[in-house]
Symmetry: D2
Subunit: 393 residues, 4 copies
């Protein structure tokens, strides 16, 4: 696959690292940036034959088959429209838009142009995520009741993130977009997100946007997808997912505790890991960051999908749904109410409702619980099907 | 200290285990239970000289200085009134009441009788909690922004827990009472809890009470105390506390991952730990359960307090505040609104408000963030004090 | 139990902390130290009614029932002889002697005097150890093949530890004594330790004694007890035990990773844990150190044993065996040979030999292995009982 | 790179998985196996255009540039000689030979033929290993004193492993070869391995080869490289590396505790991870096994090296040194002596000796230790440069 990268900042460099790693057959043939010096440097660093400070020119270059958008949130829409006009496939970094209105426009643009719109939600491609999702889909943890995704760190790298207007918000749009889509995958993309309750506050930084938030997203089957985000967490980058199912549990720590620990008095330590805060004492490096963060599996799926003319696992439609949920979260943080998720174009199921299967103990009783006590005895608690009386057996 | 234990069930046995361990000078001289056989057995097991099936008689026994209440939630009030009438000191298991109305009556009863009312909130006495609290009070993590306490397991031991009327609710009253008080300690007992947002649902069991819930408690200084509770968690008993401060982080895993791991093909394994679900495969036993759950430090504080005529760290007043917060949580789960915490008798500060200290970068700018990049460069992001413009340095 | 503590240094303070905690009925009535000011201070700090700078006087005091020896290694023998002469029970810190010759004298002294000689091997009383030992004795991990105990830290607190003559050696005698006795418990105290291979070196400090060592102790049943010790480990105090059995595995981390993690920018943090090296960055405090290190359970067993006229779990005889093993380790480090353990007075079994029970697959074959492959197939490998041919099934 | 794979068993399948993953530009054009049906199936599964049951024919095929040897240990030598004769580059699975004599022949064969000989030591390419090695080479943990590598699991997949003659030994040659080379990298490949002490035993299986072993490899600079291997470990595959340096510590858990935990009652779980033993209870899956085990980075380095005409990080020379160390280990297990490592063709440094730099406290004293005590005091221990007297400051 021959690629143009739009953007030369932190995320574009991470993308480029992933694309040149492990002898990929994909090739970056063009890089675009506003700043000429930075763009040239980027081209040199990653051995890219063409560079441009003109977005339309970059996109239109005949060698370019697919465009990788690594720009600030406020220019995604324009970039997508330019790519769609040039009939190039697009894979766009997260969040898709600053709000559902923007992302719906992008979705419509790619669909009208007949090109692929891949949503670069890398955390839905981490090795742990992929194996978790497969396990859940196999039924290994039963029905998912509650899923929580947490992303917290001491704040983003680039200045535009901190600007509410350019970013479309603060920690929720920046980090919550990951969490929302992770939970949505685990609960099932076919299940409609109904409403959102969100608390958000600006506790630590001199900014207008929120730097801390918690949200609950309620789905049509009764499941709750919780997100926790912060730009004031101390200690590195905390990326954890937890899933509670009726038959099991999943805990995935994607970054800060991955079985790799280093103590150093401080001699000779350089970069430890993204958003690590120190280089002495106990450190928790990450083996291969682009891999652990899902970039490798993400690009593989994206380009395979384009070549095979199928949809990737994460599409512009997913980006749109995520934006719709986040819109409701921002509204809820303001109104202090549960706010409905407004989806103009719902493509999932409308038939799913909350179900609860009760386990019978015998003809007259439901089983509540069986337990092994320290004494070695098994204790059984049941409920009478008619009277509701709760009894020991 | 000469003690009467009221109750012969799971929690009373745990209390007794703690009280006979480590050569304590305290002595259980009386046990009360409704069931004569069980009560006699309890007296035999723990070498207690007196037993009774009459609560008033038990309490009134002249050898008894202090009464340990380990009864079901619905009989706490009567037991407390009986003890207060007999002018005996009382330490009562959690939750204090089924609601704030009950616990306020208990609080008034002990205060009127001039006896000590200790609230047996064991999880505010675990070794990790005590050290965390000391660290927070020393300022080791700065100002607390957000604290989360989680207690989840596959459901309680005794039948009455599952009965909404007897217990006063489900997982929130049973487990959330711990979480609420843990967060309240970390945030500061002097800080008023203002309002609560709560989601609760019955997802797995054939009961009327909730078996899953999440709540957010907002305090007067802007801090959030989050609780997560479940009676449908699979894999054991998950007791975790997390605190985010402006200068640091605390993560405490009290039970399920404490650095003790055992794999067994299943030969010869007996009881592993409270609410452990299996006895083969990878198991996570707990070294000394009564200690890890805080019972030892709790009773030490309670009896020292009584002897020295000071208040223990956890009092009936704390139990009352916890009930008031939980009342608001139950109401919120129903109304889907943030509900105010109704406290008739607030004894903490009324002067605390949200404050935010901004760090100046120089005369014209606030500092937003400084970060070490993989390249080795330090990146600084600032905000203009007048214009609000966000810029790189 | 009325106690005299001999010694006022680090370990004696730890002992005193444990003895005054949790409302013990035991009472320290005397403290002895060479330095008058320190001894008085110790008495004041722990509210001890008597103090003395004369060891014989301290021991002979009529209120003293049992003496707790917390002195430097080179004065254990004299102190024990003084206590035995005064017919007082003795519990002595580890190692018992600087070598087996010394500890055998101590053993004989208490046996001749008819007093109890308790060996204060605290790490054989940690909550995790006690539960592990119970599990192993129940058969939960089958037959123990190999056990490893590791104690490493940046070096001891007191100056005399670093003096080979006073201490009787370096890291092996200081830390290895714990490891040897832990392994010996897991393998079985009845099983004779046969021979030892040891590597030791002085890698980092300007001392004559070894600051790093690894040893293998071979037992009569074929089991290996491995010890790893270091005074040059960076990052805190690493106390880990691992046991491999034919039916299971035990991993216990007693100190550095116990489910308690704190990150601090460095504001307001004081003492973190014994031998912790820093007070900012990621820290790993220990909940209740005296408890986690086994002191509480140790003293409980010791004094219960004395009162009930039974032997404690760890006796002077155990201390003697440990010294005998360490003597062989020191010799091996010098000769670079496996050296026999010289035990003059073996009280365990002499009948235990290596046994290996082979599992039959059928009449003609032994089973080597059965495994579930990624494909879902089960693969079976067998060995012909006569020909020895190894085949798939 | 156009490749032939020799072998169709477990390891060849793992290699093929890695080679088809992540859109590599490398291509497998030929597969060889003895069994026609299995070989055809392999070709089908991985979309390989050619297959053969004739090794020489497979190697000689004109499309083949490089041969990947994934055969049993006893046929490595013949395969290498065949490839060298055909002037094809070779990358060969571990161990290189069954002994140093075999691997020296292979080394000479590739050097005489002028082709690259890459040693597929995957565990020296895991993401954690690579970052650890870089940190050590940067000086982050000071001088390496002691390194330990552990690989234990319940036993290998294929029958030939269990046959001492075919495999060249048991757990040492199978697993120890990884551990030896990991330690050698951390200590420095330029440093000569001098001698080995090894304990080995057959404790659990009906085989002639050892199923448990521990070895100590002493290097010219005084460092110790320890290996621990077992085919009787219960609980999965334990791959851990630990490094102690004068300025820091590294702990890497490559497989069994990587921040990914799943509990399942057992419904719907399939394959968990290589050598996992169960599919219910607490499970510890591995995100992307071929990546975590180092295959991706390994093949990238190998093929880049061949294309750029440089040596890969792991060469046949390394394989030879590893075999020489293992030969000494086997001899030591028999003689119970430290046995010298016999290297005919040492290419590293001969000038390195044990050095120890002492830190001066002042003109008269060396510094032994400084420590923060619980009391807040700092304690300093020093040694007089002339008298050797150890004192407090």
């Amino acid at each position: 696959m021959r690629l143009a990268i739009l953007g030369t900042g932190f995320i574009s460099r991470f993308y480029a690292e992933s694309l040149v790693a492990q002898r990929r057959k994909d090739e970056v043939v063009m890089v675009y940036g506003r700043d000429e010096a930075k763009t040239k440097q980027f081209a040199t660093d990653y051995n890219i034959p063409n560079w441009s400070t003109d977005l339309h020119q970059a996109v239109a270059h005949p060698d370019v088959e697919t465009v990788v958008i690594g720009l600030a949130n406020n220019v995604h829409l324009d970039a997508v429209l330019a790519c769609a006009a040039a009939k190039k496939h697009i894979v766009c970094t997260k969040p898709l838009g600053r709000n559902a209105k923007e992302s719906l426009q992008m979705l419509q643009a790619v669909e009208n142009a007949g090109v692929t719109g891949g949503y670069l939600e890398d955390l839905c491609y981490t090795p742990k995520f992929l194996k978790s999702l497969a396990a859940i889909q196999n039924g290994a943890i039963g029905e998912v009741i509650w899923t929580k995704s947490r992303e917290t760190h001491p704040g983003p790298h680039s200045d535009w993130f901190w600007d509410k207007e350019k970013a479309g918000g603060g920690a929720i749009i920046d980090l919550g977009c990951h969490c929302v889509e992770i939970s949505r995958n685990f609960i099932g993309k076919n299940i409609k997100p109904l409403e959102v309750m969100c608390w958000a506050d600006t506790r630590m930084h001199p900014i207008d946007a929120e730097d801390n938030a918690i949200g609950l997203v309620k789905y049509a089957n009764g499941a709750i997808g919780q997100f926790e985000v912060s730009w004031s967490f101390r200690g590195g980058m905390d990326l954890r997912d937890e899933v509670m199912g009726t038959e099991g549990t999943i805990w995935a720590n994607n970054f800060l505790r991955t079985g790799f620990e280093m103590y150093s008095t401080g001699k000779g330590v350089g970069y430890v890991a993204e958003k690590a805060e120190s280089s002495s004492g106990w450190l928790f490096p990450v083996g291969d960051e682009v891999h652990e963060l899902g970039y490798n599996h993400m690009f593989t799926d994206m380009f395979d999908a384009i070549e095979k003319n199928r949809q990737p696992a994460e599409t512009f439609y997913d980006g749109y749904i995520v934006n719709a949920i986040i819109d409701a979260a921002y509204l809820s943080a303001k109104t202090k109410q549960w706010e409905p998720v407004q989806i103009e174009d719902w493509r999932g199921s409308d038939d799913i409702a909350v179900k609860k299967e009760l386990t019978s103990y015998d003809d007259n009783y439901y089983l509540i619980k069986e337990e092994l006590l320290p004494s070695g005895e098994t204790k059984t608690i049941v409920k009478h099907k008619q009277t509701g009386s709760i009894e020991k057996r």
